[in-house]
């Protein structure tokens, strides 16, 4: 088992709706999707964004895209024009989620190489 950052096996894009940020997390290979489903739970994401996301975290599954969608409520200092944050639209929260560390079986990593 290898402890790796999510950036090793997934990519992401984030955006906003009011004071809620959405982070879409996408497996770089289909084989990684079950790992995301099992380990990147709403509770873990909530803990990861402690001090940033002040509300609840919701998670939705998109198995057809090998992706998860997270809603981070109350995470943008009021959101939109009210927010005093540099990143008032949560555009960089995608990368912030990719900092999370998860456990991936060694064989899964060696059998599904990701370039770069």
């Amino acid at each position: 088992m290898a402890r790796v950052k999510l950036v090793r096996i997934a990519h992401a894009r984030s955006g906003d709706k009011g004071d809620t940020s959405n982070v879409g997390l996408i497996a770089l290979r289909p084989a990684f999707y079950p790992v995301l489903v099992e380990q990147v739970t709403a509770a873990r994401v909530q803990k990861h964004f402690e001090g940033i996301c002040l509300g609840a975290v919701e998670r939705f599954e998109l198995p057809n895209l090998g992706a998860l969608n997270f809603l981070l409520h109350e995470s943008l200092d009021g959101g939109g024009t009210l927010s005093l944050k540099t990143d008032a639209q949560g555009k960089t929260y995608s990368a912030a989620l990719l900092r999370m560390e998860i456990d991936v079986p060694d064989a899964l990593l060696s059998e599904n190489p990701v370039s770069s």
Binding site: R13, H48, G51, P63, T81, K85, T86
Partner: protein
């Protein structure tokens, strides 16, 4: 097969992209999105000062520059550039020799009091508060119409359609409903057109822009191609771009855009239908081509979404930059000094926030401690208040720190920060029986 190009992802996007879409290969339709959630309030203010304004002038300039090719290549153009004055926008377009139809009826600002009096509360979708609580501060109120209204405008035969507030996705769905005679009830097809619209509505953000997968090898960003939908009557489609342009369209770049600004993926609600993003099947279909199949949809709801803007106080943001050595410690000290001075002045804010650029402005506590020899750090402080005068006073406390605070500081060249009026967004729902699109062919 119909080719629908997007040439504008938001008001402020590339001025050249629409012209490149027209000139660098075959397209049938050019769609352009100019209206962000807050744009309407800016246009409403312009309109109240001068009734000849209130629309996106960038669009008219684009039409002037591209008119010859638009006419020669018989391209039809659909844009939500009309803002709060689609007729004035259409009248300006007419001068370039193009026929124009307008979609209006979305502006309900004058009807708010009547609606509230009749018990339509227009509750804030996020907070549940009734609109009456901010009614005196409302600056604009517009219903989002969908693709059906745009299809109706295209049926007039006008080459250009200019709308007020419409959904971004409707700009693509409208031409598809018109060309393929898709009707309410054909929910899977309407959902497919909606998802095609969602994929291209942010312009190059689906063709390699802002894409995290192997971004270093994405070719020729300087000449990035904007997206084109190649749509079939059965609801399947391919996303591609003109040959020879930069960027990269892969299943990965498309997936990123599909998830952008996504809520519940099973319920993407528009005035035309509910689209189910968990039904989408993607396949790479050659270089820079991704094919969509399998899309399912459900009946539309009986409500329109309404975009309301209201005045919500004032804010200002000031910044200074500190250099090595001890850059972070200096920036932190400067923030403490500034706050102490604001306290001594008796200034109270609804919110005050400090971020340190180079350290934590993007990722907050997740970024961890910076390297001890970090080269430079930006101290950025923002304040917000209902009271303009305290925000005004704050803006005068940044520059003095250049001489009377920690050393090796610069970046104050632009002078005092500006006080901004905050125009905030109030999303609400309105029964569909309360509003209807108005279609008109513009007369000279």
């Amino acid at each position: 097969m119909i080719r629908i190009a997007n040439g504008q992802g938001f008001w402020g996007d590339s001025l050249e992209a629409p012209l490149e879409q027209i000139r660098r290969g075959p397209i049938d339709y050019l769609t352009l999105d100019y209206l962000a959630e807050i744009t309407m309030s800016i246009l409403q203010k312009q309109f109240s000062r001068d009734p000849r304004t209130g629309y996106a002038r960038d669009f008219v300039e684009m039409i002037q520059r591209g008119a010859r090719d638009i006419i020669d290549r018989r391209i039809r153009v659909v844009a939500n550039a009309g803002g709060v004055n689609p007729q004035a926008c259409a009248s300006a377009v007419l001068k370039s020799g193009l026929s124009v139809a307008t979609v209006s009826g979305d502006n309900i600002l004058d009807r708010l009091d009547d609606l509230i009096a009749r018990g339509v509360e227009l509750k804030n979708l996020d907070t549940g508060a009734p609109l009456a609580s901010v009614r005196p501060r409302v600056q604009s109120a517009n219903v989002y119409f969908g693709g059906a209204a745009i299809a109706e405008a295209l049926a007039t035969g006008a080459q250009v359609v200019v709308t007020g507030r419409t959904t971004d996705t409707g700009l693509v769905l409208g031409p598809l409903m018109h060309e393929f005679h898709w009707k309410p009830g054909e929910w899977d097809k309407l959902a497919a057109g909606t998802i095609a619209g969602h994929t291209v509505e942010c312009g190059a953000q689906c063709t390699g822009g802002n894409c995290q997968v192997e971004w270093q090898t994405i070719p020729n960003f300087a000449d990035i191609g904007y997206p084109i939908v190649e749509a079939e009557p059965d609801g399947t489609f391919v996303i591609t771009k003109h040959a020879g342009t930069g960027g990269r369209i892969t299943v990965a770049s498309i997936k990123e855009q599909l998830l952008y600004e996504m809520g519940d993926p099973r319920e993407y609600i528009t005035p035309d239908c509910i689209a189910d993003f968990t039904s989408i099947q993607l396949k790479q279909d050659g270089d820079n081509r991704v094919r969509f199949t399998g899309i399912r949809g459900r009946p539309a709801t009986d409500m329109y979404k309404v975009s309301i803007s209201y005045s919500a106080g004032f804010k200002a943001v000031g910044a200074l930059i500190y250099s090595w050595p001890d850059a972070y410690a200096k920036a932190q000290a400067s923030d403490r000094i500034l706050r102490e001075r604001l306290d001594r002045l008796g200034l109270r804010f609804d919110s005050i926030r400090t971020e340190f650029g180079g350290v934590n402005a993007c990722h907050g506590p997740l970024a961890g401690e910076p390297a001890p020899d970090i080269a430079e750090v930006i101290m950025r402080v923002g304040v917000r208040s209902e009271d303009r005068s305290v925000v005004e006073r704050f803006t005068k406390e940044i520059a003095p720190l250049a001489l009377n605070g920690p050393p090796t500081v610069t970046g104050f060249g632009a002078g005092r920060p500006k006080v901004e009026e905050i125009v905030a967004y109030w999303p609400a729902l309105l029964p569909k029986t309360e509003a209807a699109p108005v279609i008109a062919v513009q007369e000279a």
